[in-house]
Symmetry: C2
DNA sequence: TGATAAGTGTTATGGTATAACATATCAATG
DNA sequence: CATTGATATGTTATACCATAACACTTATCA
């Protein structure tokens, strides 16, 4: 599964398909994909970058969909809880899932210059980390794997 | 390099040696290991767990070493900047380095039950993550690798 | 249709972090 | 050893991130 985010792609489809996939999943699983929740997901899908809860809240407020912090946090809890979005711990921010519907253990590549975030998938049980977990006899429940650096475009720009 | 934290060890030596190693490094590199900085490192070394900046600040305040948030954050910036301590993004908290002086890319194993944090070392350029970085042509500058779950003792307790 | 669960609106508050500026101390050298 | 530039500290104020708690509404389903 290649990382998604830095390369060019059909972004309109990206937004539409993301929302549609979430809607279909909710439909199939008896979850309520309410206007607030849909709108928050769409806002996140508009950029492959992480957005703070208050930035999202500002958007909701403009659109009359909610004015208080819990409104944003509840929608984000729902979206992250069902895998439609992820929290980026390093940024205290949120991003739409790029691999909607697929089972995956996300890893994030965060460009410190343009703030674009790409989502890759790595199994924390593999490799050196997996070995460390076994050596420590540690039961893994959640993995946070986030790397910060420069995306190809920004590295080039830096040199210029 | 095995993870440090869950197994038994000589903890008094742990505190003393950690502070001594930092002092020696500062001495050798013209850095000022001031009382505030030393004390913050000692406070962190006292437990193999992550502490919030305000928890540390409370300790400093009791001891008359500072009362305002910037005092704690500055000391923590110094300690993390020189590798004497690490920031745990998942917890918005800080922990003393367990591999003082060694070059390492830390990964953390966080027990959600007892809050002990073990530090392992994994090279983010290896394995699946390394492959994803190369595939995205991403320049890594910093890696955050933190896993949450249960340490051996707490898993056993849970079953009981 | 009544009971229960799930979602929304709102107030208030708590936890985390830093900007900005004044003062003090250190470290090097002329 | 006085000057000066860099580093460290003290302090105020503020900004950002997140959730508890409670009232109310809407959906779901027996």
């Amino acid at each position: 599964m290649p990382p998604i985010g830095f390369e060019h792609h059909d972004h309109a489809a990206c937004i539409h398909d993301g929302a549609a996939a979430a809607a279909a999943y909710c439909d199939a699983n008896g979850l309520q994909f309410t206007p607030q929740r849909r709108r928050v997901l769409e806002i996140l899908l508009e950029g492959h970058r992480a957005m703070g809860a208050y930035e999202i809240l500002d958007r909701l407020r403009e659109e009359g969909l909610g004015a208080q912090p819990p409104v944003a946090y509840r929608a984000l809890d729902f979206l992250t809880g069902h895998g439609f979005a992820h929290r980026i711990e390093r940024l205290n921010a949120f991003i739409a899932c790029s691999h909607m519907g697929e089972i995956h253990a996300p890893a994030f590549l965060i460009c410190r210059r343009c703030s674009v975030v790409a989502e890759a998938s790595v199994d924390p049980r593999h490799g050196e980390l997996g070995a460390a977990l076994r050596e420590a006899d540690f039961t893994l429940e959640r993995a946070v794997i986030e790397v910060e650096g420069l995306c190809p475009a920004c590295r080039t720009d830096d040199a210029a």
